[in-house]
C-alpha cells in the first residue's frame, strides 16, 4: 500500500507540476479533479463510488437547503411576525431533515467501513459473556482511502451552508474538487469551503515564486520525514513489539520516540500538502503550530491537528454547549456553583462528547476510546483546578508568565501527551496498561537496552542534530520569524548552498532503502 501510495502521489504531483500551465485556465480545475479521482481510484478501486456518493449527497443537500432558504425568504415578505415565525419553523425543520438525512447517509459509510467490524466483534464478546449461543459474522471490509478526512471536510461544508455561514455552491465540479483534491484527501488538513474551494477552481498559473516557495516547504517536510520519522520508526517498532522485555525507561523512550515520529510524519505530510497548495496558488490552512510549546493539554489541541480540533469545536462542542438545554443548565448551575463552575458543567458535557468522538474518529478500537477519555480527563481536571492554581499564584505573588514556569508547563504538557500517545500506539488496552505500569513503576535504567533498539550511535547523533534543527525552526516560528523569507533575502550563492545541503542531507542521511521501513501515511486509513 505504502509503495503504491508514494508512487502514485509523486507521479500525480509531477504530472500536475509539469503540465498544469500548459492547460487553459478553465480546464485546470477539471485536470485537478480528474487527477484526484484517478488517484483515488488507483488507491481504492471501486470504492470510488463512496466518494461520489458523498460528493453528490453533499451537493444535492446543500442545493436543497439553499432552495429552502430562498423559498422561505420569498414567503416571509409582507407577513406578520407570527406568520414569519411559523414559516421559519416549517422551513428550518425541512432544512434540518435534509441535514440529518445527509449526515446519516455519510456516517453510514463511515460506520460500515470503519466501525462495523469493531462493533461486531464486541457484540460477539458480549453475546459470549451472556452465554447466548449466537455470533455475528465479522465482515472484512477495506475502507476507501481518507474516508474520515473527506467525510468530515464534506460535512463541514454541509454544516456551514446549514448555519448560513456560506451559500450553497451550484457548481458541482467545484464541490467535487473541494472534497476530492488528492493531496488533502489522504491526511487532510480538513479545510473549510471558504478556505480552498474558490482558489482551487481559479486555476491560477504556477509562478516561479510559488513554485520555489512550495518546493522549499516540501523539502522541509521531506527532511522531517526521511531523517527523523522514518529513522525513529525502527526504534518505535522494536519497543512496542518487544515491550514485555524492556524496562520502564525504554518503554517511555518508545512512547517519546513514537510521539516525535507521529509529529514529524504527520506535520511533514502537511508540509508537503501545503507546499503543493502553494505551488498551485492555493492557501491550504496550517494543521500544526509548534504543539510542544503548549502550556496545557487544551492548548496543545489548538496547535496539533488544528483542522480536526476546529471541526470538533465548531460542529460538536458549540452546538452542544450552546443548545437550549445546555443554556438552561448553565443558568441554573451558575446559581448553585457560581460563575466559573456553572458554565463548566455544560462545557464538560460537550467536552465529553467531543473526546468520545475524537477517540473514535482516530480508530475503531478500545485504545482509541481510551485515548479520547484520557484527554477528556486531562482537560477536565485542568479546568477544574484552574481557579485553585490561579488563587495559589496570586496568594504567593508568583508570575504565571515566568519563563521557567512556562518551560515547566510545556514539559509537563509534553509528558502528558507522550503518555496519551503511548495509549494511542499500543496494540491493545492490555499492552497499554502493562507499558504504563512499567513507565511508572520500573525505573531500572539499562543503558545496554538502548543499543538493542535497532539504531546505532550514528543514528542517534543524526536524530539529535535533526531534532535540534527542528527545535530552532520551531522557536523562530513561535517568534513569527519566517525562515523561508529570511533565506529569500540572502544572496543566490548562500541561498542555493542551503538548498543543496538540504537536498543532499536528505538523500544521504535519510532513513530509506535496505534496513529501513518508512512510516506510512499514518492517517490514510482513518
Amino acid at each position: 500500500m505504502l509503495i503504491f501510495f508514494t508512487k502514485f502521489y509523486n507521479f500525480f504531483f509531477l504530472i500536475i507540476t509539469f503540465f498544469y500551465n500548459l492547460f487553459p485556465k478553465k480546464a485546470r480545475p477539471i485536470l485537478l479533479l480528474l487527477v484526484s479521482l484517478v488517484f483515488f481510484y488507483l488507491m481504492s478501486s471501486k470504492l470510488i463510488i463512496c466518494l461520489f456518493s458523498t460528493i453528490t449527497s453533499i451537493y444535492l443537500s446543500t442545493i436543497l437547503m439553499g432552495k429552502l432558504d430562498e423559498k422561505k425568504n420569498e414567503l416571509l415578505d409582507g407577513k406578520s411576525s407570527e406568520e414569519k415565525k411559523q414559516i421559519k419553523k416549517i422551513y428550518n425543520r425541512k432544512k434540518k431533515i435534509v441535514l440529518i438525512a445527509c449526515i446519516l447517509l455519510n456516517f453510514s459509510f463511515l460506520f460500515l467501513f470503519k466501525y462495523l467490524k469493531f462493533f461486531t466483534i464486541n457484540s460477539n464478546h458480549l453475546l459470549n459473556l451472556l452465554n447466548i449461543n449466537y455470533q455475528f459474522s465479522v465482515l472484512k471490509i477495506i475502507a476507501p482511502i481518507g474516508i474520515s478526512f473527506y467525510t468530515l471536510q464534506a460535512l463541514s461544508y454541509l454544516f456551514d451552508v446549514y448555519y448560513g455561514k456560506i451559500s450553497a455552491d451550484k457548481n458541482y465540479l467545484r464541490v467535487a474538487l473541494f472534497i476530492s483534491f488528492f493531496p488533502q484527501i489522504v491526511e487532510g488538513p480538513m479545510a473549510r469551503y471558504s478556505d480552498t474551494a474558490e482558489d482551487l477552481y481559479k486555476g491560477n498559473d504556477i509562478t516561479y515564486a510559488n513554485f520555489t516557495s512550495g518546493m522549499q516547504r516540501i523539502l522541509w517536510g521531506l527532511f522531517k520525514k526521511m531523517i527523523i520519522a522514518d529513522r525513529l520508526n525502527i526504534l518505535v517498532k522494536m519497543v512496542f513489539s518487544g515491550y514485555a522485555v524492556y524496562s520502564g525507561p525504554i518503554c517511555f523512550i518508545g512512547a517519546l520516540g513514537y510521539t516525535i515520529m507521529l509529529y514529524m510524519n504527520f506535520s511533514s505530510t502537511m508540509d508537503i500538502v501545503i507546499g503543493i497548495g502553494e505551488i498551485l496558488g492555493v492557501k491550504i490552512p496550517e494543521n500544526f503550530r509548534q504543539p510542544f510549546f503548549s502550556k496545557s493539554i487544551s492548548e496543545f489541541w489548538t496547535r496539533w491537528h488544528i483542522s480536526l480540533g476546529l471541526w470538533f469545536r465548531d460542529y460538536i462542542y458549540y452546538p452542544i454547549s450552546l443548545s437550549k438545554t445546555m443554556k438552561k443548565l448553565t443558568i441554573n448551575s451558575r446559581k448553585i456553583v457560581g460563575n466559573y463552575f456553572g458554565p463548566l458543567i455544560s462545557g464538560t458535557i460537550a467536552l465529553f462528547a467531543v473526546w468520545s468522538l475524537n477517540g473514535l474518529w482516530h480508530g475503531a478500537g478500545w485504545t482509541f476510546i481510551m485515548f479520547g477519555m484520557y484527554h477528556f480527563v486531562m482537560i477536565f481536571t485542568g479546568n477544574l483546578f484552574e481557579p485553585l492554581i490561579r488563587k495559589t499564584f496570586v496568594k504567593f505573588n508568583l508570575d504565571r508568565e515566568n519563563i521557567y514556569y512556562r518551560i515547566f508547563r510545556s514539559i509537563k504538557t509534553s509528558f502528558l501527551v507522550i503518555i496519551g500517545e503511548l495509549i494511542f500506539r499500543a496494540p491493545s488496552v492490555k499492552v497499554a496498561l502493562v507499558m504504563l505500569k512499567k513507565v511508572f513503576t520500573d525505573f531500572n535504567i539499562k543503558i545496554s537496552e538502548m543499543s538493542s533498539l535497532g539504531l546505532d550511535i550514528l543514528d542517534y547523533i543524526i536524530l539529535f542534530v535533526a531534532l535540534v534543527l527542528v527545535l530552532i525552526v520551531g522557536i523562530l516560528r513561535e517568534k513569527n520569524i519566517s525562515i523561508r523569507q529570511e533565506i529569500g533575502k540572502m544572496n543566490i550563492i548562500v541561498r542555493w548552498a542551503i538548498f543543496y545541503i538540504m537536498i543532499f542531507v536528505i538523500l544521504i542521511f535519510g532513513a530509506y532503502g535496505i534496513g529501513y521501513q518508512p512510516v506510512g501515511p499514518m492517517y490514510a486509513d482513518f
Binding site: 509503495i3 508512487k7 516561479y208 517498532k237 522494536m238 513489539s241 543499543s451 535497532g454 546505532d456 550514528l458 542555493w496 538548498f499 543543496y500 537536498i503 543532499f504 538523500l507 544521504i508 542521511f509 535519510g510 530509506y512 532503502g513 535496505i514 534496513g515 521501513q517
Partner: protein, 314 residues
C-alpha cells in the same frame, strides 16, 4: 526566461553534485568494467572479486529467507542473495552470468519458485525499480555514509538479504498436502507448469555450473502462498533429469516454520525470525558439503568481518 535559466542551472549543479557524491558512495572493490551503474543494479558487483563462495538465485522468497550475514556469523561462509522481486528466468540467467564473471562460487543455489513464473510477467514496478537503481546509485548506496565517514567502504551490509521484522500471521493449514481443500491462496486447480522458455535458461545455468564444476542445489524456500505439492513433484522430476540435489524446506522436517510468527505477509514471505531458521539450516548444509571453507578473520575478508559488526547491531 531568467527564471527558466535559473531552474536549469539549479538542476545542472544538483546533477553534478549528485554524480560526484555517487562516485564517493559506491563500493569500488569489484572489477572496474561494470562501472557504478551496474554496481547499483546488481548488488553483488559491490563485493570484492572472488570472495563469494555461494550465490543464491531466486525471487523475493530468497531475499526474505536467506540472510548471508547470519551464515557468515556462525560458519564464516560467504553467501550472496542474487535475487530480485518477481524475478523471471531470463533475468536470473543474466544475474548468474554477471555473478560468474566477477566471482568464483563453489555452490549455486537456485530457488525453483521462479521456474514457474511466466517469462512475460514482469510487474511494471520492477522495471521501474531497475531503471531507478540504474539512474540513482547514490540513492542505493546512501547508507554507506556510516562506512565512508567512520570506517572503510565495505560494500553491502545485508548481502542481498532484506530484513523484515514485522509479522502478519499466515494460515493454519497443510499447504503441501497432496490433496488441497480450502486453500486460502489459490482458487481452482493448482497449476505447476514450467514455461518452455524458462526451461532453456534452467538448462543453461545448470549445464554451465557443471562445466565449471560448481555444485547446484535446488532449494525450495518455505512459502505458504508460492509452494504446493504439484510444484514439488515437478521440481523433483527436474532435479532427477539434471542430476542435481533438491531440498524442499516446505516438506523438510529439519526446519519447522511457525506460520503464526515467522512470516511477514500471511505466509507468502518469511520475516527475520523465519529467515534465521532457513539461514541456520543453509549454514549447516554448506558445512556438511565440505566444499566451502570459513573465511572469518581471514585476510581479504576484513570487509565481511566489519560488515558483520554493523549487521549484528542492526
Amino acid at each position: 526566461m531568467k527564471n527558466t535559466i535559473k531552474i536549469i542551472m539549479f538542476i545542472t549543479i544538483a546533477a553534478i553534485i549528485y554524480m560526484s557524491l555517487s562516485y564517493l558512495f559506491i563500493p569500488k572493490l569489484n572489477i572496474k568494467k561494470y562501472g557504478m551503474y551496474n554496481t547499483s543494479m546488481y548488488e553483488l558487483l559491490a563485493e570484492k572479486q572472488n570472495t563469494i563462495d555461494t550465490i543464491v538465485l531466486g525471487d523475493s522468497l530468497v531475499y526474505s529467507a536467506i540472510s548471508p550475514m547470519e551464515i557468515y556469523s556462525k560458519h564464516g561462509y560467504t553467501v550472496f542473495d542474487c535475487a530480485e522481486p518477481a524475478q523471471i528466468m531470463s533475468d536470473a540467467y543474466e544475474y548468474y552470468k554477471i555473478a560468474i564473471d566477477s566471482q568464483n562460487p563453489k555452490i549455486v543455489i537456485i530457488e525453483p519458485n521462479m521456474f514457474f513464473r511466466d517469462p512475460k510477467e514482469k510487474p511494471w514496478f520492477n522495471k521501474t525499480l531497475k531503471i531507478l537503481k540504474n539512474v540513482f546509485p547514490l540513492v542505493k548506496y546512501h547508507n554507506n555514509w556510516k562506512n565512508l565517514f567512520f570506517g572503510k567502504n565495505w560494500g553491502h551490509i545485508n548481502k542481498g538479504y532484506i530484513k523484515i521484522l514485522h509479522t502478519k500471521s499466515g494460515f493454519e493449514y497443510d499447504y503441501m498436502a497432496e490433496e488441497l481443500n480450502d486453500n486460502p491462496y489459490v482458487k481452482g486447480k493448482y497449476k505447476a507448469i514450467i514455461p518452455s522458455k524458462n526451461n532453456i535458461y534452467i538448462k543453461k545455468i545448470i549445464e554451465d555450473c557443471k562445466k565449471r564444476n560448481i555444485k547446484v542445489l535446488l532449494l525450495g524456500v518455505p512459502s505458504q502462498r508460492c509452494w504446493n505439492y504439484e510444484k514439488h513433484k515437478v521440481i523433483m522430476k527436474l532435479s532427477k533429469q539434471y542430476g542435481v540435489e533438491y531440498i524442499n524446506l516446505n516438506l523438510d522436517d529439519r526446519i519447522d516454520i511457525d506460520w503464526k510468527k515467522e512470516t511477514k505477509d500471511r505466509g507468502n514471505h518469511l520475516n527475520y525470525l523465519g529467515a534465521k531458521k532457513v539461514s541456520e539450516f543453509l549454514g549447516n548444509y554448506l558445512n556438511s558439503t565440505n566444499i566451502v571453507e570459513s573465511h572469518k578473520h581471514k585476510k581479504g575478508y576484513e570487509g565481511w568481518d566489519q560488515v558483520l559488526k554493523t549487521y549484528m547491531k542492526s
